[in-house]
Each structure stands twice: as structure tokens, then as C-alpha cells.
Symmetry: C2
Subunit: 351 residues, 2 copies
């Protein structure tokens, strides 16, 4: 039984404009200023766990060249291109049927491409443990992050922690998925020991997810089922381009996770962030003595504090007298915005 | 008697960094966002008063190509190149001897290249009137700006206004030149009707300034006197490169104006600014309803006021929640600085 890695890389990262643009979204950018894009860091993270021929990337057709450039080790046939955006359920359905066509016993870990993990060793221990669990059971495992604050930007997983799984003492049955809560609700969640952040990391065997999709999303399943003869053939892309758009747009959480019975959660702590906000990037990044995060070649902060400056170019930046601002610059665009107003960035970018 | 125009274009505009850089200082930049550089606006301003063959530009050798590109009408022989910076006295000495060599009766107006004038009609009236005055007398005229505020960034001219010149009722003898004052002194100056800002605009016949330099700056005069045989010959530049550096660095105000007796001032009001500070640029530029000055192609201000944004590139800028800042961007440099701290920009640019 081979372990396959599926990296979902089709997001557009609009909250990180202008660092992230529709032409080159967040996952393809060296957000942390470490020399590797978030996609590359994601692939690097699984390096020892998955053979290159078992790594898959699903993304938009528009990003094909970026993925090929950033992940040269990815086999050409393992880059799956969506002709349009349909959220995560059609994405996972496509790659699952595609993998099933060549490896019906595949054990799969699915990951977003634009998250960060600080403790990779613990991360790999958890993933390997979850993979052993799914290898032996027909269950889906979600990785639940032990919450460290009343975050309203994440969905929560409520676990039944009365009895762990007999096969893995770290794995618990899921009672419910909860959408992003308001602050009071988030505060009540984190006071309870059985609520976890939904990381978007899933582990399952291919037969498990295919069966679950057949039951809970038959309209999506039938589309990829009918394409079985063409997977891996030169006709694949044309057929996908023709039929993928027929899928409704729905997340895997809505389509399967919240409906299926045999969903388990693996509570874990490995310094995870979805980097969904400038605030989370600020939190995850090294700061100077005044709380400034400076990602760029030549950034000088004078009498400034708690700012985050991000420039992907070799650009000289001098900031004087700013407190709590985002300064982001890319190509032909400059954004200066209070950190407290970052939820408006998508709107600001579009007006 | 021909009227000659001398444009001094050798400054480095360090206070406007990064808009102004040593490679392309302020006078060569479209500071006002009107499609013409300050140098071009200066030449344009005199368009009807001076024939192209009587226009002269003195600048650093490093800026020769920029001047040729921006002023294609300037005759090649009328571009004088300083091999090093020696302030305005050697600059004016060089061009005065150079003009004297071909037109000993020349009547000359000298202007900085990086100032703005709002009321060009009144400006031309004043300059023409001053030129008529110097055509008939052996006097030097400085244009004094009627002050509108207690500006500490300008030098002041104190006039004896008891009796105007018999030849021009608008012209008065100068009692004293005063350096940039502190605020209390500036306030006392502007309460008196005979104090004017020193604009750096001078009018004189070539014989007048040459004689004044011979008397008050003989060490400088002798250098340009000895070069008389080579002006206008192919040997000129080499001789200037060899001997110009021998001049001490001194302004024409110190070298001549403050010492000579026959100095007159022509008080005037034509909406002049030396654009010496971001504040003066802010003051001189059209503002939006919130007091923002936006010079650039695509600048959007949200919940921001009293800012000045300058980008010479086709760059998109979105600013949210800033009050009283300078945001200036050029080439590979971005500066964000409180307007109240603008006097530190030169320092910030150098660290």
C-alpha cells in the first residue's frame, strides 16, 4: 500500500493582496521570506514520507507553469488541472478517482498548499500515525489543531473524547463540524477540551473517500466515475475540461465530512497556521524588538512598531513613524493599510 | 542688447528622496505630475522672453544627457558642464564669462531650475521690468518674494523702501541679506513691510556681474578670466574640467550679493515656491476633499487625510487609514514618513 500526497493548490489568496494576486496567489509566493514558496514548503514537509511519483498537485490550469517551475520533481502526469474553480469536493473527487485508476489501494493525505507548520517532526509523526490508522480502517481522519486562542477565522471540530479509537489512542470520533464562530462562541469552544481547529488536512484510503463521495455527493461522483477510461490517457485533460465544470461548487467539509458517520479527528499540535490573515503571518514570523515583521531584502523601520512589511522584490523600503500597519508591495502595486482593517483588503483590491 | 537666460540645474535635491535621487534630482522630475519636469517648466516659463540660442543651462556633467533629452531646443554649445559641485558663485562666474565671450552686452536673468511659479504672466512682467532696469544701470536686481508666512526655510532680503529707484518705481535698494531665520525671527520679519524671501532669481548685465565678481571674488574671477581664449572652442570642456575644481565652493549670495553696494530688490508676488520641502509641494498642489495630494497614475486614498503620495511610475497605490504622511516611491525605493519628520529624510536616505 503506497502513501500518496495530494496538494490542493487552486486558491487565489485574495486576502493577501497585493502580495498575493490572482496571477500568482499566496501558495506560490515566498510569504515567509525564507527562499521557498508555501507550495514548496508544503512539498518539502512531506519529503521523507512520500515518493515523488506519489505526489499530486491539483490546481487551476492558469497555474500549471508556476507549479512545474516550483516543483520540478513532480511527474508531469501528477499535475491535475482544473478548468474552473469548484471548491474542494470536486478537486478531491478528481484526484481520488485519478489515483484509484492506477493504485486502488492508495492511502492518501490531502493538504492545502498555503499553510505553515512549525514543528515538522511532530507533523510527520501525526501524519504517519494517521496513515497507519486509515490503512487499517475504512475511516476518514481529519487533523484537528489544539486551539491556542479564540480564533474566529477557523472552523471547529467537536470530538467525542469519551473513548479513543481502539486502533489509535490519539484518534477520536467526530461529533460535529462547526463553521467559523463569532467571538463569544469561539471563546466557549476553547474552554472545552474537545474542540479543535479544522486544519483542512485529511487522511483516508482512496476506496474510503470514493465510497463516501458516491454516497454523499453522487452527482459529483458520477462525473469522475464516467471518466475512468480516460485517466492517464492523452484525452484526460480535454475530458476534464468538458466535464469538471458540471460539478457544483462545494467544499469537502460540506459534501462529505459533515454528513458521513465514520469521521475521526486526530488532535495535534505542530505549530500550524493557515496563514489566512496578515495577522497570522505577523504572529508566525520573526519580529524585531518593536514587533515589526520585515520580509524583504532591504527594509528599515524607524520609530515604527507592530508593522508587517512584505516586498517580494529587491526593493529598498524606509518606514518612519508607523504603528500597526501592513505595507505590502508587489510588481506595480503598493498597499498601506491598518492591521485592524485587514479584513477589507479584498474589497480594497477590487474597487 | 540680447536677453540671456541662465538656468542653474546642478542641485541634488536630497530632501525629496526617494522621488529625487542623486542620479535624477528633483529638477529633472515631473514633481507636479503635469507631464513636464521642473527644468522643463522653468524653460517653458521664459519661452516668450528669450530666444533659444540665448538660453544656457549649467549643470553637473553627470546630468548632461538628461538635460539634452529634456530640453532638445537647447543649443549644444549652451550646455555648460561642471566637473564638480562648487555652489552658485563659480556656476554664475563660469556662465557669465562664457556669455561675455560672445555677447559682452548681454542682459541676463539667472534662475534656479527647480522652483515653481504659479502666475507666469506676472512673473514675466516682473522679469521684463527688471531686465529693462538692468539694461539701463550697472546694478544687480534680485527678485524678492512678498512673504505669505513666517517661513524658516528661506533667506530674507531687507529693503530700504524709503525711496524707490528713480528708473523703476518697483525697485528698491537692499539694506541687508538675512540667512534662514528661526521661527521668532521669521515672525518679526514678516510683520515688517520691507522683508522679502530671497528667491534666487537674479537679473544683471554680464559686465555688471563680471565686475562684481572681480571685486568681491577675485580668486574665482581669475580662473574664468584666464580661460577667455578657450570659451566656445573644442578645448573648453577639458580646460573647465581642469580649472573649475580650483574654485572654492561658495554661493553667489555670500560671494557677491551680501558684499556689493549696488544691489536692488524687486518685490513681487507671482505664486513662487522653491519646492524645497514636501510641505511646500503639498501646499502648491491640488488636494482632494481630505487634503491629500496624489501625484501618480492610480492612487486611491481611503480614510486618509493630509497625505502626499508621489510615484513617478505607473504604479497602483492603495492607502488606508493614514493621516499626515509622505509616501514616495521611485524605482526600487519606497519611503513612508510622517510629514512632521520630513527634515530627516536626507538622513533617512543615507543610513
Amino acid at each position: 500500500m503506497s502513501t500518496h500526497l495530494v496538494i490542493m493548490a487552486g486558491g487565489i489568496g485574495s486576502r493577501f493582496w497585493p502580495m498575493s494576486t490572482p496571477e500568482r496567489p499566496k501558495q506560490f509566493i515566498d510569504v515567509l521570506g525564507c527562499g521557498r514558496s508555501l507550495l514548496q514548503l508544503t512539498a518539502d514537509r512531506f519529503g521523507t514520507l512520500v515518493q515523488p511519483e506519489c505526489m499530486w498537485v491539483v490546481t487551476s490550469a492558469a497555474y500549471a507553469d508556476i507549479v512545474r517551475e516550483q516543483l520540478p520533481q513532480l511527474p508531469a502526469s501528477n499535475l491535475l488541472l482544473e478548468p474552473c474553480r469548484r471548491n474542494t469536493a470536486p478537486c478531491i473527487a478528481y484526484v481520488s478517482w485519478r489515483i484509484k485508476a492506477i493504485d486502488p489501494k492508495a492511502n492518501i493525505v490531502v493538504t492545502p498548499s498555503d499553510h505553515v507548520v512549525m514543528d515538522v517532526q511532530e507533523f510527520l509523526r501525526v501524519v504517519a500515525s494517521a496513515l497507519r490508522f486509515t490503512a487499517e480502517t475504512d475511516n476518514i481522519v481529519t487533523l484537528g489543531m489544539k486551539p491556542t486562542r479564540a480564533e474566529t477565522g477557523y472552523g471547529y471540530i467537536q470530538a467525542d473524547m469519551s473513548v479513543p479509537s481502539a486502533r489509535n489512542r490519539e484518534v477520536f470520533r467526530v461529533d460535529a463540524f462547526h463553521e467559523k464562530p463569532d467571538l463569544a462562541t469561539a471563546e466557549s469552544y476553547i474552554r472545552q477540551p474537545n474542540f479543535f481547529w479544522n486544519s483542512g488536512l485529511f487522511v483516508f484510503r482512496v476506496s474510503t473517500i470514493v465510497n463516501a463521495l458516491r454516497i454523499y455527493a453522487p452527482d459529483i461522483s458520477v462525473i469522475f466515475e464516467q471518466l475512468l477510461p480516460i485517466y492517464g490517457t492523452p484525452a484526460e485533460q480535454q475530458a476534464i475540461d468538458a466535464h469538471f465544470p458540471e460539478c457544483r461548487s462545494i467544499s469537502i467539509d460540506y459534501a462529505v465530512m459533515e454528513k458521513a458517520d465514520e469521521i475521526f479527528v486526530f488532535p495535534a499540535s505542530f505549530g500550524w497556521s493557515d496563514l489566512g490573515t496578515w495577522g497570522s503571518l505577523h504572529e508566525r514570523s520573526p519580529k524585531d524588538a518593536n514587533g515589526n515583521v520585515c520580509i524583504g531584502q532591504d527594509i528599515r523601520m524607524v520609530e515604527s512598531r507592530d508593522c508587517i512589511v512584505h516586498t517580494t522584490e529587491e526593493r529598498r523600503v524606509v518606514v518612519q513613524g508607523l504603528d500597526g500597519y501592513i505595507i505590502a508591495e508587489k510588481d506595480d502595486t503598493l498597499l498601506i493599510c491598518r492591521r485592524t482593517e485587514e479584513q477589507r483588503i479584498t474589497q480594497l483590491s477590487q474597487e
